[in-house]
Symmetry: C2
Subunit: 241 residues, 2 copies
DNA sequence: CCATCCAGCTGGTATAGACCAATTGAGCCA
DNA sequence: TGGCTCAATTGGTCTATACCAGCTGGATGG
């Protein structure tokens, strides 16, 4: 990777940042402007993408990344509230909501039999009109009968749980890791299949500790920074050395 | 990206997994074996790297990734214990331990003036002899005088805090995100500068809530999966919709 | 005024070949 | 036996070119 090419691209990013579309010039234009080839240029852009400085939309072009959203795992704020509290705009698109048979992973997490019926809700979420998050929810139908008939694009699921079903979320279990976008995720985010992503999987339990639903969030990796603050568990204050 | 090339590479990974070095054949051999060019082959390998299936060591070659280590953020187990509890072997290399003047970020996190003296400890950590983690610690000298004289490669820092200074870690604040390895990190992990990484930054406070040290962990992104389980804070059980 | 169509542009993917730099292992020497 | 040198090998980076596929926006037609 030609490090100086990355450096030489930075003024281009600065310029794009101040344009309204935050869009970079086309690869071919940059290539000639910097006197290099498309392959070399794309390597530099890929490196900047890995750093989280630029991102691309499938076959549309390259854009400079906005500042990351801060996401407090323990605050458990609904998405729209979290986003608005950071002076950004939020929007949700409902992609699908249907009954499906539980995939193995979901069945294991919810403690039900594989292929048992579950409700699956897929949504895309936008921050400042940029698609940054693809979520798949799987709900236990026994807990939430007829939930698919509500307006799932506007309502917070937790709010529905509480208001319509009298269920409050108790313990939450997270699993986090880096991954790449599946084709469904890539389609939802206008991204290229295989783009790096941050996965946040969660299992929600009710007041009695029973798993009621789980969801998998796939964030564009440059869009968030996770935070978390806690006192050590179990009295003994040992930590990683 | 030729998806079928990635698919066709999978048997190669399976074969490499069973070899003792877990090493893939050289790029040039794979290129001729699959009748393609090096650039195309490398794109496929990069995609597999993003998926966490393979990784590379700088100028040494490609390797299949071992299973991810599970890292419970709230368990706060010392590294060696965490690794051994998962039937893997752990080792730590001390890279440097010295007094430096606090960089702006560190100063802010520790609540001290920029350029105030701090102790910096840099270590590389291995799991099953693979370098997976580069850590930079910054300690408040006022809390830990002469700590640099201990055997920092073998001792758990927290254990030292407790035994030698009577300090226990109270509240811990995390900040997580994806990033790429700096050159120091890449060197420490035998990685290529710019490899994708998972950052885990932490600020440790003592029993009285005063920041005593902070550290930045940079993990090879395919090496870990983070877990976390908690009940919502503040009574109200609201969660992201 | 709105829906449709299509050309042009953009990124996505691929081929072919070349030189550089670090690693590594074989072979040599003390 | 142990350390050193050096050549082969491997990945790192780059040039040059080509065709495909999807998005986009302007022209067209109802």
């Amino acid at each position: 990777m030609d490090r100086s090419l990355q450096e030489r691209l930075k003024p281009v990013l600065a310029e794009a940042r101040s344009e309204k579309g935050r869009r970079l010039p086309s690869e071919r234009e940059l290539m000639t402007r910097f006197g290099t080839t498309r392959i070399t240029l794309r390597e530099a852009l890929n490196a900047l993408e890995a750093e989280g400085r630029v991102y691309r939309e499938n076959r549309r072009g390259w854009f400079v990344s906005p500042p990351r959203l801060r996401y407090d795992l323990l605050a458990c704020l609904p998405f729209h509230e979290m986003v608005r509290s950071q002076q950004r705009s939020a929007r949700t698109l409902l992609l699908s909501a249907e009954e499906v048979s539980a995939p193995a992973v979901v069945a294991r997490r919810l403690g039900i039999a594989e292929h048992a019926p579950v409700y699956r809700i897929c949504r895309a979420r936008l921050v400042d009109e940029r698609r940054v998050l693809y979520v798949e929810h799987h709900l236990l139908p026994s807990c939430f009968p007829q939930i698919l008939e509500f307006d799932l694009a506007r309502e917070s699921l937790t709010e529905l749980y509480r208001r319509e079903y009298g269920i409050r979320v108790g313990r939450v279990s997270y699993e986090l890791g880096t991954c790449v976008l599946s084709s469904a995720g890539a389609d939802a985010l206008n991204a290229v299949r295989g783009s790096p992503a941050q996965r946040i999987s969660r299992i929600n339990h009710d007041q009695n500790g029973r798993a009621i639903d789980c969801d998998d969030e796939y964030w564009r990796h440059d869009a968030i920074e996770l935070t978390l603050s806690a006192a050590p568990q179990g009295g003994e204050a040992i930590r990683t050395s």
